[in-house]
Symmetry: D2
């Protein structure tokens, strides 16, 4: 990380003590790293609210016994190849699979893809993991 | 605010520039105030996750033509007097009312009260506004 | 509520049993009311994502000893009169006040107003309670 | 899906029309599937609030040039082997990697693991994708 800038911050003593305890519980070893993380969290939230490039995951839980489901999911993923990087598949038990699709692209398109997958019969649950390409969060 | 402490924070130049732009868009005039707000946000989130005293609002939308509804809501509020500070009532149109109940008390009890109100027939929507007594966020 | 429509829903037995237990814990006495609430929740979420009329609360925690703060808050509220319905003020202790502003109007304007209030020095915390005018959630 | 139960639900005509439009926009072809998804969403939320088995993803963005970082992340993942199923790694550009860890286990332990990873210097962002083993959401 080239180009570190050091500057002063003024915070009420009591508030700072509470913050120090909070970040200690969260395993931070110094305040600057905790502040950087708070900033990055806000920036990633913003990336997902605006139209622009995001990255993250779409996680599906489904029953692979559901007729034609695997083929349908495969087809949709192929049609959205420009936003899909890779897929990770886990067998939980005789019925349940977890499929994690790593995605990158326009936030609106990624959200729409999650909606399409969620509506398919046999797909039990879809979560969108909102992460970042890292490009704009140094 | 007695007892301000000043300390140094190191942040990558590019990340800091993005943060400065972000907080400028949110009307902040200095970084310290923005940092204090980020800290307080985390502390208030924590107050609501743990068992302890919180404050905030329960906002109801309901149709006051619904039979017996106003009386039911009144009774529940009286039974929960220890957690309710005051109530603000707004007539939106011929049918819809907004009722804002200011609450204070144990986070679990307040959540349970919101659940009770939400389940009542005729209550269209209930939101929990998670704020704080301010005691622990200087 | 005129115009009730009755229709059939098919749900797996085990899933339905879990739903019944969930809504019983949340005090619902019948499934239809629980379904109506799930629908309304989705509709209110949508109202806040799109540009359109919303209603709800902005809750502030602040220290009224902060110099000039009360006057500043008052001025901002007057400048935003078209979106503010009323204000409820609670004194928590020697230092902390809770102020609940009932708001109605365009979702973007209401969010912007919350941002303006949050950035003011001495305002410790701002929460947006996302509710509805009830017009579009029967 | 063995054991489908069919039952009647009563909903105000206007509310139902809005729901039908909403789910059509989300690609649902029938109401029952939309209701099942709303139920499952609530059940998965509950799984993550209580102590019990959950599944999902922890997504990290980091700069692999950061000294010792890759080794540290590897060690932590090995120490938490019981909760980690697999890891998917994507190179975004010269600096940024996305690492998606598929997790399963007690909700508290999984959250703690995400906190540990977030606090490490060089890890820019951590998201928790809250999904399910599917066992309890038929």
């Amino acid at each position: 990380m080239a180009g570190l800038v050091r500057f002063g911050v003024s915070i009420d003593k009591d508030l700072l003590e509470k913050f120090d305890r909070l970040i200690e519980n969260k395993n931070y070893t110094n305040r600057s790293e905790a502040f950087r993380d708070l900033i990055r969290q806000e920036l990633v939230k913003k990336e997902w609210c605006e139209e622009g490039e995001v990255a993250g995951t779409i996680t599906l839980v489904y029953d692979h016994h559901q007729r034609e489901l695997a083929r349908k999911l495969m087809n949709i993923q192929h049609d959205n190849g420009e936003n899909i990087i890779s897929t990770q598949h886990v067998h939980f038990d005789h019925h349940n699979c977890l499929e994690v699709i790593t995605i990158k692209g326009d936030s609106k398109k990624v959200r729409a893809l999650a909606d399409v997958l969620r509506a398919i019969k046999g797909v039990k649950h879809v979560t969108l993991g909102m992460s970042s390409t890292g490009k704009h969060i140094h």
